[in-house]
């Protein structure tokens, strides 16, 4: 555990902490709260051979697959806004990455066991299906049928899963690493509590006083967090509830670019390798576009993008 005054670091410093081959998890759910600034920074740094375990991390994994950074994926569900994730699917179909399939609840329970400091969790999911019958690189360490020793009830058990790194994007954090999020939390707090090293990217850094004053929004206490990074718009082109909506056009651009390795490389050349920092990336996206994506305080959507504007 680092001392508190070393927790607040830059995005580049944080990305540098993740070695090639790391077992890493990203938080998020569908189009929200994905730590995409961090992922872009990892791609700029040329990370390779990653082992990814996650839940709701489609956007992060899709970009990393497109960049050829991934060897193994524990996958539950990857959907782009309008269909499959083309980079992920192509990598699997071409044998470039290996997969181990879980259900949402199944893999979350593996994280939960680690988060709770226990060796396994009993579940009533995955068993009976090919999620249990077919085991790849997690063979023997995935899920097995089990009879409750007390009642004899048939269930399944899943072993704990503790990633080397968890990277989660939150709304607000203080320099200590107390994290706040509005709306749904997906499973980020469980993933963070399971992991050995936790990196938090936050829309805003606030004083601890402020955290105490609004503690009903705190989802993770500081002692689970190793590093904190100020990352405004850090989930773009995804959204963060009450901050900004997702950018459907840019999401579709990524999906379209994923159709072939060449077009994906062209996307990365233009948007990721071609922008040295996230600040440069956001200048390319355009301040105007980011302002247009700001969330309506009530509904959380961008009025320009989702409602009839004038």
């Amino acid at each position: 555990m680092t001392t508190s005054n070393k927790k607040l670091i830059s995005l580049k410093e944080a990305a540098a902490l993740v070695p090639d081959g790391a077992n890493i998890s990203f938080g998020g759910f569908a189009e929200t709260n994905n730590p995409l600034s961090f992922v872009r920074e990892m791609i700029r740094a040329g990370k390779k051979h990653l082992e990814i375990s996650g839940m709701g991390d489609a956007q992060s994994v899709e970009l990393l697959c497109g960049a050829g950074a991934v060897d193994l994926v524990r996958v539950s569900n990857y959907m782009a806004k309008n269909g499959r994730c083309p980079n992920f699917c192509r990598c699997v179909e071409q044998g470039a990455i290996q997969t181990e399939d879980y259900s949402h609840f199944g893999i979350t329970n593996r994280f939960f066991a680690a988060a709770m400091g226990i060796p396994f969790m009993p579940v009533k999911v995955m068993i009976g299906s090919d999620l249990c019958e077919i085991q790849n690189f997690d063979n023997g360490s995935k899920v097995m049928e089990f009879d409750d020793p007390f009642s004899g009830e048939r269930c399944g058990i899943v072993p704990k899963l503790s990633p080397d790194f968890a990277v989660i994007h939150v709304a607000r954090a203080d320099a200590e690493g107390n994290c706040q999020l509005y709306g749904i939390t997906s499973s980020i707090e469980i993933i963070a509590r399971a992991a050995k090293n936790v990196i938090v990217t936050a829309e805003e850094i606030v004083d601890t006083e402020e955290i105490r004053r609004t503690n009903q929004f705190t989802v993770l206490p500081s002692f689970f967090v190793d590093h904190v990074v100020h990352c405004p718009f850090g989930a773009y082109p995804g959204g963060v509830f009450t901050y900004y909506d997702y950018d459907l056009e840019h999401l579709d651009l990524i999906t379209r670019s994923g159709k072939s390795p060449e077009t994906m490389t062209a996307y990365f050349d233009e948007w990721v390798y071609g922008t040295e920092t996230e600040a440069a990336f956001f200048d390319k996206v355009g301040v105007r576009r980011l302002m247009d994506l700001r969330a309506d305080p009530y509904s959380g959507v961008s009025l320009r993008n989702r409602r009839q504007f004038l």
């Binding site: 829309e203 600040a279 301040v287 105007r288 980011l290 305080p297 009530y298 009025l303």
Partner: protein, 278 residues
Amino acid sequence: MKHKKLATATQAAALIPDGSSLLLFDGYEPMSLIRELLRQNRRRLTLYSCGPAFAASLLAACGAADHILAGCDSESCFIPGALHVSRAILNAQLAAAVNGGDHASVAVPERLLAKAPKLYREIPGIFDTGTQTAAAALHPDVAVVHAARADFYGNIQLDPSADMRDADTLRLAAAAKTVIVSAEQIVSDDAIRMNALRGLFDPNAVTCVVEAPYGAHPTAFATRYRADEELLREYEAQEDSAAFARQHLLSSPDQDSYLAGLGFERLISLTTNRRGEN
């Protein structure tokens, strides 16, 4: 009958022709509109500035304003070329207009009676013998205000985290014939309802609304961002303010390119609260 009041900065600026009198409020300065006026080379404006509005200094420095009346309490408040009175006096003059009177009964110092007899004079007392001082009611042509949130229909609000003590002063905008508002963010009806305690004006009195994120830059907007101190210090240090302004504040054709020129990093570094929320 509601109707939609969203306008562009260009459309709003067209409502402020040469020779207009303009009411400004320190801390709620619609710099994007002011820049548009200066780009269009406005002249012979009369300015009423509640507090030391940078916009007033800038308009004065660029030669756009002929007469300036500034209501300030601090010694350090100084707008070149302005007649300086206390905030209480200027506010009273505007309030008199709002209330339909032709003057405000307010204590006016000797120097002003001498300096500006068209605005400040001695008149007979009414309830006791002797005299009282009176300040003329002011009816600006246009009040321009930068606010936090607005909807399409002219509902204008400060942020939930705002200190509402300024609201009373801001409501003096009603003294003006036309009220033009720029807002950090256009929001939905539901959002307006959710934040109802922070309403500023009767929507019927608002002529148009211009969406302007970071619209007070380089001044501060208390609930969202600091003043751009670096830029303001540089401006203050110049011999030729107008030339500096032309190069650094007026060179972009519109607010979008102005913000693009400042860049993401700089804007974020000034931002203290992304949403203006508690």
